[in-house]
Symmetry: D3
Subunit: 232 residues, 6 copies
């Protein structure tokens, strides 16, 4: 039997992010699964504004087209840029790590809080959560006011713990969602220190993609995800 | 390394349903995963009313307590009776097949329709979909007016195809969800005939439970899923 | 003419709670009305988790079946366990004290706040309020972090006054709802001290049941509250 | 002990409507309750547009001010004109028959349909239902395209039965709400013929007002229903 | 070619408010546009309660009827009293300054906060925002606890700046909406001091009315804004 | 005084569409206003899928950056691609014709219906309407099953009239919104034939942009529309 092959599409241009996320995805999949990572060939080193989101979406579409023979795809940026468009190209399931993180949180807690980098990104996250129908499950979005490129190091842990504590004590959250792939490396420590689950979407999103594939579920071509003009 | 062990909890008293669903769950999991099925020791042969739902919920709590050492649990009735309560007992993830079916549909289509057995069950399904925040994703709920125990056989296929066709053509759905475990055996045929994905929740729910486990995600004990008085 | 006979169904096992609530219900009804109280024969002394809610729901169904000849029924626990199921069994109106308390608050104020016992119960209350469509009317839910069995005494008043003051001043509420039958004995004092209406659901719920009966309104058997299989 | 005194405020100028509704209200209250009816001194013979609603609201405020010593007030027009304003004037509870009809329907059914006179009134009714948070409970609004002054007679029954049948069969309603006081006289026949509950709000609204009064619940003066400038 | 003629209808009785708003409206329109202001002939000097709103609505209807030959109408009170009714009378577009202010805010920011006079008015504003479908865009409503007649002077600036700062820093707003015509005179200073846009609805509402007229768009007479009985 | 200069950004590559829309925009603005049209330099001849939307958004960002000195911008495609991103680049107001069309409809009717080209686009339109908070105002979305490039000609009128009639009669709409710039040329005829207002967003959107500019309202840089990294 053939085994599962996942393409991880990183909409930003930072190859190090791609590698770190491929590693996380692999560790969440069966041993015989393959994960290939692809990095945006142009665009931005991080995605923290709508301008950067638009560029990232175009890169996701381009990567999805170029690397067309995988069993499933993972859009590996918390904003899920180009997710719906990637689903139009073919039938292989496409999962976004933002959507995946939210879904995982709703399976193990009643109220999640999101920890993000910059305040300017809060409305877009709130809108996405509302778009997924999960506004009533979200206790709040907390901004660290530290950018993506300041995440991941040792001195990033303290602010995360402070933000998480506030989310649990003041907002009434029971589960945390990290809205940034670069935070994922600290998610285990955060979870241990605060004694609550911490969701980041990369590993769980890879698992979702695999589970869709295992169940023979592919993207519907009947309606809104039908082939775009000139494809298919 | 230890491998994944899943307990499938069937809230109705029909052992044949349990066996069929265990088989579906197994086929969606890695070869070394174990699935043990448990059937309600009292209650009803099928769950189609709130009275039956209440009895099924009590059975789920009892089975969750008695069989306490599994890696994850699957509540195997589309109404997800006792799902929140089962999450309070311990930290192992608990997934419901109704919730799982809805989530799978939102990953591969833009609008799902639900096909159910009796008209009397439509409001409860609509309320559950709304409770999950997915009302805007649901194109409608179609009732066959054929009970659970009339599903599964050869003559059940025609009405399902008719209902599915109506959902696609008139309601604008692109994906179908079968709101009854007993329909699951016909889901592949329905999908082939109508050329759209058909979701039933058993296999995908088992996969969700496995993915939560693979990612080290367990039920939060900090808030609304904390241990009940006298447990833990 | 026959006079109104109400059955008050207490889903917990504490007979003292039943007696206190029967007394409240009687004082809100005409002199010739009869109120009989029934206490769960098994289950939990208080209902503060979903596990306890599930057990209480099963008891409500059992009590509704056993005592089948009343004009109306009052489910006398703020979580309204088994309310929909009890409506399936027969045509006599069934009212829940949680639902009743919310409705009363919406008739005399623009924004209510709910005061409850434990923080762990806040998400379930929020979900119930949302389910009733009243999220926009609710200014917030405040938890005392004192359990049901710590309510009712003299030293319970101070924390209630503090919580109520916070709800009025910080959350913008104009009306208070007490989410616990055991708090009802202090509701009049709280109302006098804070000069706002305080709703508890027992007396008003009894009145709702009576008013439905006076108007000849009974539970619809046409749809979602139709008889369950094997009844009727 | 003093007994309950209710003022029924009819915002239209048709005294015959007032008399018919006073009679309905009385029959739903205890024998010693008094119901006095007041008819708008100027305005319109029926309220079917926003222009008429505005005039009716001003009349409700005027009548509430002039007749200030009742235990409770019933705004006796399905659009509930001036309801919030009347609550600002004093502490006596004020109930609207539209709101009352919706609440009664949610206590005895899972999905109600509203039957109204003219199509032009459908959006305003939908908006009111949404404002009360009950959009998810409403299966639809059906217009007869027969005006208020064409209701009540023998030839009004047939169209009501047709509309009700459509609401039950096509829209999935289990309970009917009549959005017009003048239809109330046929509500019992409609209920018997279709075998579902039919709610009109006059009798149940009177009962709600009485139940608020019995429970010592009065309008909150703390927030949005506080005294207007120059009153109180 | 004929030029645009706008009638500004002030529902309160303070002629000075009318003059100030006419001046604001003129400065936002082309030089050849005419703006005539009309002041309520009876009612209240300011509109801060529902009782006053009801009176203002009746005045709007009366002014709309009396002055029937304008190209468009502006209801010049933030509560938009009588807006829907005024639309029923004729086909000329009618805009409310409250609705206009909200719409302008949604075109230039992601989250607006509303600054109002009295706390008692907060629930009605929240309900109006929800009614317009903009609850998710509103970061909050802040009350100054200073009445309408205390606005406009030099000492009104400080409290507005404080409230605005709180809205930006604590509530996460990026745009401010002033819920009171009398605050409009300070809106430019507030905007400069806080470096965010400040919307008041008078000038933008006049522009909306003009733009509807320029595009040949008139009120639909087909449905809910059809002519009332006896008009048209 | 300088006069208003508007840049119309057409995200598709069809220069004829740009010209037609520039002409519509000009006719809705004062005589001294200037409208310059820009056409996407690469991408797709029409935008009917998410893949095409993503490409169009990138073109909008590029055109907004290149042509940076206008008083306001109009994103001239009904899907509003890149609208939020274009708002991040600078302070000049940016309006989308889709959003503009919806807003115009809510000012002159109570229920609008949208007429679009292909069924596959219906879910995306519904999601956009929901995102704007206008789901309750939308009576439905009707698809012609005729593509963008089949619009505009003489034989396009009949299907539009049929769809509009259905929207008015069956869905209860009172106002029509045309979800395609290429339909705009027939909007006047449609309006005359059906006697209801027909909104297309190009002229009204140009007017909105002008009105924001006249009122001195610019995009907030404080929050979610702040400058992206490396700009500003």
């Amino acid at each position: 039997v053939s085994s599962f092959r996942l393409a991880l599409l990183n909409p930003n241009t930072t190859a190090g992010d791609t590698e770190a996320m491929v590693s996380l995805a692999r560790s969440a999949l069966p041993a015989d699964a393959a994960v290939d990572g692809f990095t945006a060939s142009e665009g931005h080193a991080a995605i923290e504004s709508d301008v950067e989101h638009v560029a990232g979406a175009a890169q996701v579409v381009a990567m999805r087209r170029t690397h067309g023979d995988y069993d499933a795809y993972l859009v590996a940026c918390f904003d899920d840029p180009g997710l719906d468009a990637a689903r139009e190209i073919g039938t292989a399931p496409v999962v976004g790590i933002g959507h995946a993180a939210y879904l995982s949180a709703t399976l193990i807690g009643r109220r999640f809080a999101v920890i993000t980098t910059l305040r300017r990104g809060v409305p877009a996250l709130q809108d996405a959560i509302r778009g997924h129908g999960l506004a009533a499950r979200c206790a709040g979005v907390v901004a660290l006011e530290r950018g993506v490129r300041e995440q991941g190091g040792e001195d990033a842990v303290g602010p995360l713990v402070d933000a998480g504590t506030r989310a649990l004590e003041e907002l009434g959250a029971d589960t945390l969602v990290l809205a940034c792939g670069a935070m994922a490396s600290t998610s285990r420590r955060l979870s241990e220190q605060l004694a609550v689950p911490v969701c980041d979407g990369v590993g769980f999103g890879a698992g979702l993609a695999h589970t869709l594939w295992s169940n023979g579920l592919s993207t519907s071509k009947h309606g809104g995800y039908g082939w775009p003009e000139g494809h298919g």
